[in-house]
Symmetry: C2
Subunit: 222 residues, 2 copies
């Protein structure tokens, strides 16, 4: 699973930022492994894949690692993105800080409701979807964020693809179809809930709370 590696790389980035903040300049495979919850050899193998070299007694350079991770995930190359669907979820994303170092830059926002068109959301004016095609073409947009109701999703996908987009971040709770060559990343929130439901099934007879001291790092996120 290639996907598993990507998740690990993202996780490394997280922890490296934290270490850097603490003033550290190097880190060993052992330490990172402990934080992420995997074996140190896994970490070393990932770093070989990234073609970064460590030194026998000090470990790996944090700055160098960050650089390579950014480059591997293509986070420095800011790609133009548009968002379609300016409802509650759309607005939440527009206002959120996720766009920093994400590899994307939000360039325009669309909707089809007269009530929101023309309003300004976090500095971006909401436009009518009929302008989608021309904006995508003229502003070098390569990806779209889909926060419309499920029923409208496939229609908007068609428009996006027709305009030449190559990637879709889909929040609509439905499976969308796209031609080969167009990357679809689904963010199905319901699945997160269901997964939690399943996981809690096992924990039914939970012990009485231990003291807050013995908290452990959460390793369930990967």
């Amino acid at each position: 699973m290639q996907r598993a590696r990507i998740f690990r790389l993202e996780s490394y980035l997280d922890h490296l930022a934290e270490l850097k903040l603490a003033g550290r300049t190097t880190v060993t495979s052992e330490e990172l492994a402990g934080r992420v919850g995997i074996s140190s050899s896994r970490v070393r193998q990932d770093f070989i894949y990234l073609q970064v070299e460590g030194k026998p007694r000090s470990g790996y350079e944090i700055g160098e690692l960050e650089m390579l991770l950014y480059s591997e995930l293509d986070l420095l190359h800011e790609k133009g993105m548009v968002l379609i669907g300016c409802g509650n979820l759309g607005r939440a994303l527009i206002f959120s800080g996720i766009w920093e170092h994400s590899g994307f830059s939000l360039k325009a926002v669309f909707d089809n409701q007269a009530s929101v068109i023309g309003s300004v959301v976090n500095g971006l004016t909401v436009r009518h979807v009929r302008e989608l095609h021309s904006v995508v073409r003229s502003e070098e947009i390569v990806a779209g964020c889909l926060t419309v109701p499920a029923i409208a999703a496939q229609g908007v996908v068609q428009m996006l693809i027709g305009a030449g987009i190559r990637g879709i971040w889909n929040f609509a709770p439905t499976e969308i179809k796209a031609p080969a060559g167009v990357v679809v990343e689904n963010q199905r929130l319901e699945q997160g809930l269901m997964t939690l439901s399943f996981a809690m099934k096992e924990t039914r007879a939970a012990p009485i709370r231990p003291d807050l001291e013995n908290y452990v790092h959460d390793a369930s996120s990967s």
Copy 2:
């Protein structure tokens, strides 16, 4: 990876609902496999794990499968949940349809901003977080949805755990710590964006759009 199976089960549910809507009552492992993008033997093994039996020429009963999937994921047993952080994202979730058949029922909403406390969001009155403890205790709440800023996350986690909660659905873009026995499901939206960024790196030189006919099912979601 147990997680991979859970994702498949959720995916089966999706497609079964679609088939049911189309009037179908049975489905073969082959057909489901084609839809989900895996091998038919994988599907059959999952169904053996669910202890459902198929018939040699007709396949599996859709209704029976749905029942067993619901039961396996514990989606029928509605567990009480609270949401903390009534910002844009919180509101989006409160208004969204994800709670249907999710295994959870949203019972109360909290914030610490005077400007939103007391307001009614989709039928739920926003309360001050200081009431969190007593509400969790008195209304049999077992899980919490965290939509607060990263800086506030760990503090709220402490409150939730102190109140006796056993599961956390975390949207805060930070790693939170919880004692063993408390399930944490992280919904890191930035990771979705980064993954898309990586995936698009490979598609740089995309071919000219093929016609819309040869769309294929997206198999990248698992």
